[in-house]
């Protein structure tokens, strides 16, 4: 049990942002039957206040979370929720709570430790709302999961197609409208209906896909992958450069491979990594290497690897990724994020990366190109290019 309640009711509950997942998290939080105070939209101020009160060398997700908490407390929240993680993130809740108390805030905190299983956390939630039953929590969980799936499916479609829209902003407009409607959906049927209707609307948007379009996969640490503000909107930036963007780290995928299936999933990733990983690297590191290898085999043009500066599991992954890149002449762009907000450096690197991929593509007979595409058997190849 790791919950400390505020001194008095009414409780006003809040939680950090991550992409658009505040939509399903809000649905869950509603079961606590108290007012929900969403932190303001992420801005540079969020990062400024978060970074000012964070240890200098902690990773960037910590700083964003802390900024969200401070801005939510300023809006009147008094009960904060923090989840665990597969790296030192698992300890962030404690540190953030101590920092916020030192700053003089009066609040309670629910820390969800030990994974994604509902029955481990129901006790914490029941202390906030004694009327909550396991049955009701389970129902809400299923609904939130369905909402998450709808969100991930729509955003996956947007990522893969927005780069080719004929009219600027067409995808974003539909996407925004979708988010607004999904936020109000509270039953399975409505969620399914919204998903399929908006998928239809997205499919109806006129696009022009060039013959030489680039397919780029994004791998790396989950927070900077899923929170666009923290990665300086790298997916949109790629789309602007006419890229079909693929990302596999989503909350739906994480839930699907959590709990009992987790070990089997890791084993599968290792088996499909072309011998570039032999044991689990911690957090998302195994997936970063294995997915990169799989994308290379599927003929992707390149991979972007994103991580917060100092992220240990992803630093582990980079050693393997660099070898993979070298041995197969497969382009991987490594990007580290910290509290910098200037996009110039990122844009320069993305421009150069896309130029490079296009130049490679224009020479189909290139030996370096043929290597690494579909045909190779795992472990059997060593590049001679």
């Amino acid at each position: 049990m790791s919950t400390q309640l505020p001194a008095s009711r009414p409780f006003k509950v809040s939680f950090p942002h991550m992409g658009n997942y505040s939509i399903p998290v809000r649905l869950l939080a509603e079961q606590l039957e108290c007012e929900i105070v969403l932190p303001p939209k992420m801005t540079r101020r969020t990062l400024e206040v978060g970074a000012r009160h964070s240890p200098e060398f902690v990773c960037i997700p910590f700083k964003y979370n802390l900024g969200n908490y401070i801005e939510a407390l300023e809006k009147g929240a008094n009960l904060l929720i923090q989840a665990g993680g597969g790296c030192r993130f698992g300890y962030y809740g404690e540190v953030q709570e101590a920092i916020l108390r030192d700053l003089g805030y009066d609040f309670g905190m629910v820390r969800l430790l030990g994974g994604w299983k509902l029955r481990d956390h129901i006790g914490d939630f029941k202390r906030v709302n004694p009327r909550l039953t396991m049955l009701r929590a389970l129902k809400a969980y299923k609904l939130a999961l369905r909402q998450t799936q709808a969100l991930d499916r729509i955003e996956d479609y947007v990522r893969r197609n927005a780069g080719f829209e004929v009219q600027d902003g067409a995808f974003e407009e539909v996407h925004e409208a979708f988010l607004g409607e999904l936020d109000t959906a509270r039953d399975m049927r409505t969620m399914a209906e919204i998903e399929s209707r908006y998928l239809g609307e997205l499919e109806a948007i006129p696009t022009e896909r060039p013959d030489d379009l680039l397919r780029i996969g994004i791998v790396g640490e989950l927070y900077v992958l899923m929170e666009p503000f923290s990665n300086l909107f790298v997916e949109k930036e790629l789309a602007k450069r006419g890229v079909e963007v693929h990302r596999f780290v989503t909350v739906s995928n994480m839930v699907e491979h959590s709990g009992r299936k987790h070990t089997a999933h890791l084993d599968e990733l290792i088996a499909k990594s072309g011998d570039y990983v032999r044991y689990h690297l911690g957090a998302d590191g195994t997936e970063s290497v294995s997915m990169t290898y799989q994308l290379m085999q599927q003929g992707f043009d390149g991979v972007l690897h994103l991580k917060p500066f100092g992220c240990m599991p992803e630093v582990n992954a980079m050693a393997s990724l660099q070898r993979l890149s070298r041995e197969h002449t497969f382009p991987i762009l490594f990007i580290s994020y910290d509290a910098q907000t200037s996009e110039t450096g990122l844009k320069t690197r993305l421009d150069a990366f896309c130029d490079m991929l296009r130049m490679r593509k224009q020479r189909p007979g290139d030996a370096a190109m043929a290597d690494g595409a579909e045909t190779l058997a795992p472990g059997a190849e060593r590049s001679t290019a």
């Binding site: 801005t43 070898r323 070298r326 002449t329 130029d355 030996a367």
Partner: protein, 331 residues
């Protein structure tokens, strides 16, 4: 009149410009310090270039810009092509050295490596965090030792026993250097040690995990330092080629890209006499406070950037233009 193409590379420390003909031959070249004022530097480059070309025989029909001030310069010159410096350097170098397989680049504030195979760039990296392995590090240490940075190379070549200096970080390197000097190491040895430290830092950071194969071309301002060139040869075991025009490769590359773009609009060197002004202002429309930059040509809005939403640009543009308008009215 034959067609010519202008390429301008505006870096943090130096500004470079070339005019080339349709065959890629350099007709005019210019290289000078940016001195924190890219617009003024570009105008001076234009003056030098104009003096070298025969205005009656050639006409500049397409302009490309690159370097960290490429957007601003692109707006000022009305450039047809604005390209990142990595691509520009690769294109420029490949035009002169088609067989190159590795390009080392160390400039004033950044350093990069470009891996080329069969004439196509296949991988690159840029320094991410600090300036320890760049030209500005060398200049600051030169000041400390009271030796002109241009003479660094000769000093380094005279050294028989280079001093070991930690090149990981500017602060560590500096304290290491002071310590070695105080315990009696010779100036030449210390300078040779610094050159080796730069190379070690570069290969360990920028070049990390990359397959460095010859032929290697080394360019950027630091390539003019023979001490660093020797240190690279020692560390890689390959001969290092340094082109006489090595510092101009970015400008040459972007001029070639402009030539190949097929976009042509007659360009006049007269743009030198036009007044350009830049205004940087925080939008303050939301807590994000985007830093929006507006470029004014003769007091009128020309271009702007830095906004994350269209409202930001409108807000700042209206404010700035209203101010400029009232100023103009008062005159």
């Amino acid at each position: 009149m034959s067609k010519a193409y202008l390429g301008v590379d505006v870096g943090s420390i130096s500004t470079k410009g070339v005019v080339i003909d349709a065959d890629g031959e350099v007709l005019a070249r210019s290289y000078l310090w940016t001195e924190g004022n890219p617009v003024r530097a570009v105008k001076r480059v234009l003056a030098e270039l104009e003096a070298q070309v025969d205005g009656d025989a050639v006409e500049v029909v397409s302009v490309g810009t690159t370097g960290s001030a490429r957007e601003l310069t692109g707006a000022v010159l009305g450039a047809q092509v604005v390209k990142n410096e990595i691509t520009a350097h690769a294109v420029g170098t490949l035009s002169r050295h088609p067989d190159v397989r590795t390009i080392f680049e160390i400039g004033g504030q950044d350093s990069k490596i470009i891996i080329v195979r069969d004439g196509v760039p296949v991988d690159y990296a840029m320094n991410t965090l600090c300036a320890a392995g760049t030209g500005s590090f060398l200049s600051s240490q030169a000041r400390r030792l009271d030796v002109p940075v241009e003479e660094f190379g000769e000093h380094a070549l005279r050294s028989k026993r280079p001093t070991k200096i930690a090149g990981r970080c500017t602060v560590f390197a500096e304290s290491d250097l002071v310590h070695k000097a105080q315990i009696g190491h010779k100036l030449d040895d210390i300078i040779a040690g610094l050159c080796a430290a730069i190379v070690g830092n570069y290969l360990n950071n920028v070049g990390k995990g990359k397959e460095v194969l010859g032929p290697i071309v080394f360019q950027g301002g630091v390539s003019k330092n023979v001490g660093v060139v020797r240190a690279f040869e020692k560390a890689t075991g390959h001969e290092i080629q340094v082109d006489d025009d090595g510092h101009l490769m970015g400008a040459l590359g972007v001029a070639l890209v402009a030539r190949d773009s097929g976009l042509e609009t007659p360009f006049s060197f007269g743009v030198r006499d036009v007044t350009f002004e830049t205004v940087g202002e925080e939008c303050s429309g939301c807590p994000n406070d985007c830093e929006v930059v507006i470029v004014l040509r003769e007091g009128a809005y020309l271009d702007g950037w830095g906004n994350r939403c269209p409202r930001g640009m409108e807000r700042v543009r209206e404010r700035v233009c209203a101010q400029e308008g009232s100023l103009a009215g008062a005159e």
